[in-house]
């Protein structure tokens, strides 16, 4: 029996998917969570085999949940999303997510992915991969993206520098490089562009 934790903030989709997955003989949905923090708490308590995480959730997103869980328990994570942003796929792969698939897949396909991932394989949906490959390339370096991501909620240069353990001058240099590359006058606009295109 594969023990599955399901986290999705959309109640109708969550309950329907849980009901469909329970119909499978070898899958048991042990927990249904409505947000990321709850998912982390429940997963650490129940230690399921597979965590099926929605990407867009309040609090922590699916990849962040997977990142936290990878440090505490052995559960393998599958991230499900409606908008498969390429940057997210990169982040997910880097943080060890074992499966990535679009929300549009039927429950039978989801069950198949759960079985594969439980057996130790990795599954990246071709549609998600195609999106990621045919996307405009980000002109920014990883470090510059870190700076944008850390400062996306209007944090000051000093705060960004502290979080990333950089000198404030270095952060300022990164920011001016970002503004020049994206041809925008403010960091706020750079963050908007990067979010829109799924770079951060």
């Amino acid at each position: 029996m594969i023990r599955v934790l399901l986290a999705d903030d959309e109640a109708m989709i969550r309950s329907a998917l849980a009901a469909l997955l329970r119909l499978e003989d070898d899958i048991d949905v042990v927990a249904e969570c409505a947000d990321g923090l709850q998912a982390v708490a429940m997963a650490e308590k129940l230690e399921p085999d597979i965590c099926l995480l929605d990407l867009e959730m309040p609090g922590l997103d699916g990849v962040e949940v997977a990142e936290r869980l990878s440090r505490s328990i052995a559960a393998r994570c599958v991230v499900v999303t409606r908008h498969a942003r390429p940057g997210v796929l990169r982040r997910a792969l880097a943080s060890g997510v074992a499966g990535f698939l679009p929300k549009s897949r039927g429950a039978d396909e989801v069950a198949e992915v759960i079985r594969r991932v439980a057996a130790g394989a990795r599954y990246v949906d071709p549609e998600v991969a195609a999106d990621a490959l045919s996307d405009e390339r980000s002109p920014l370096t990883d470090r510059e993206l870190d700076v944008l991501r850390t400062g996306r909620r209007g944090e000051t240069t000093g705060q960004i520098a502290k979080t990333l353990s950089l000198a404030p001058g270095t952060v300022r240099n990164h920011i001016s490089a970002i503004l020049a590359k994206l041809h925008v006058p403010t960091r706020q606009q750079a963050v908007l562009i990067a979010e829109e295109r799924g770079w951060i």
Partner: protein, 406 residues
């Protein structure tokens, strides 16, 4: 999407052009003022005023030029909604400097026109509403002309023709300066308006494109939703009488949903697509993020490779490598050899058990490549897994060169 970068460069070039034009405009206005100040100084020196007076005029003239710079900067960064006065430091101080300079030179020279000119000129540089500036420039030209005439009654009646000539020259400059300034600024305004119109046109184009996509999506979804509604209604009716037929209708409804999804996705993908080098670079990024050490080698003209044929091959093969996971390395290459594009991806096939499913994906792309006159080979050698796709050079789009390389 792929045109975004050239657009950005074009926009930057244009904005550089606009900045340059602004410098011409500002320098032109300041140059006229500098010439007038210089003439003033020479006139004062010739009229036999003391050194003190000349120094006062020189310093005052420099201060006036500096205040005009401030006003011009204000003008450049002005806001359409703001009035002519943009605050104490931006407007009132420069105007005050102009007034002080005017009064000083007027008192020292005893001539009205010297007093009025700096003030009139500085007023022209303010951000007046439409139409007001025109009236202002006409009024100030009339006043300046009248003052010039009053001041020059002696000079114009002078015996020396040189005195009369230089007074006339000064008159033309003095009376003409506000209008020349206003014409320069007007020209600048026209340019800014044109630039805005261009930007608005670009935005309009993008908006229209979006509207078109929205309409397409609406039509597509509307059609499918209606089909699904009918299929579900039929299911409801058949449910008790003929459960098997009802089940069949349900399956059809699900198929319609999938079709609708795919259609929407195809619509969205129509506006996607990047040059192949970017696609391969994306693939390398993803593989590295997944912990595979990936490398790519491309020929320099790889962006001319047929993207519509090779793009799906790159996507399919990369997805396969990603999906199998656990691979330690992968190498991608895209080169042109004797009129043929050759894409190759090699990776260590970590698991011999070729997982089911990827075969069908490769079959699909193999068919598409074959339609374009190329071929896809899959080879296994010493545990390495090769996929090689070759496509004749002109395979992108409809025309394949007759008798082209196969």
């Amino acid at each position: 999407m792929s045109t975004a970068l050239p657009d950005a460069i074009g926009t930057r070039r244009l904005s550089q052009g606009i900045t340059a034009t602004w410098w011409y405009t500002a320098t032109g206005v300041l140059a006229i003022q500098a010439i007038v100040v210089f003439m003033w100084v020479t006139v004062f020196a010739n009229l036999g005023h003391g050194t003190g007076a000349v120094v006062v005029i020189v310093l005052g003239g420099l201060a006036w030029l500096a205040s005009s710079v401030v006003l011009l900067v204000q003008y450049r960064h002005r806001d359409d909604t703001a009035g002519p006065v943009a605050g104490w430091r931006g407007t009132l101080l420069p105007i005050a400097i102009a007034i002080v300079f005017g009064v000083l030179s007027g008192v020292i020279s005893g001539m009205w026109v010297f007093g009025a000119l700096p003030i009139a000129q500085s007023l022209m540089l303010l951000n007046w509403p439409r139409g007001v500036r025109l009236r202002l420039v006409i009024v100030s030209m009339m006043i300046l002309a009248a003052l010039w005439f009053i001041d020059g009654r002696d000079a114009l009646g002078h015996q020396d023709i040189e005195v009369i000539r230089s007074w006339w020259l000064f008159g033309v400059l003095a009376v003409g300066m506000p209008s020349m300034t206003v014409v320069s600024l007007w020209w600048w305004d026209v340019l800014v308006t044109l630039d805005r119109a261009r930007a608005a046109e670009a935005r309009l184009g993008a908006t229209q494109e979006r509207l078109r996509v929205a309409t397409d999506v609406h039509d597509l979804q509307g059609h499918h939703l209606q089909v699904i509604a009918l299929q579900l209604e039929l299911t409801e009716r058949l449910f008790t009488k003929d459960p098997d037929a009802a089940l069949e209708q349900l399956r059809l409804a699900r198929a319609s949903v999938i079709e609708a999804r795919q259609g929407t996705r195809d619509l969205a993908m129509r506006f996607r697509g990047v040059p192949l080098p970017d696609e391969i670079a994306n693939a390398v990024d993803l593989l590295r993020a997944a912990g595979t050490s990936a490398e790519a080698s491309l020929s320099s003209d790889a962006d001319q490779a047929p993207a519509s044929v090779l793009g799906p091959v790159i996507r399919e093969t990369t997805t396969n490598v990603l999906r199998h996971g656990g691979g330690r390395w992968a190498r991608l290459s895209l080169v042109r050899q004797d009129g043929t594009w050759r894409y190759e991806i090699v990776n260590d096939a970590a698991s011999d058990s070729s997982p089911e499913g990827d075969g069908s994906g490769l079959d699909g792309v193999t068919r598409r490549v074959a339609e374009a006159g190329g071929e896809v080979r899959i080879e296994r050698a010493r545990g390495d897994f090769h996929v090689i796709a070759t496509v004749p050079d002109a395979a992108d789009g409809a025309h394949v060169v007759p008798g082209g390389n196969r």
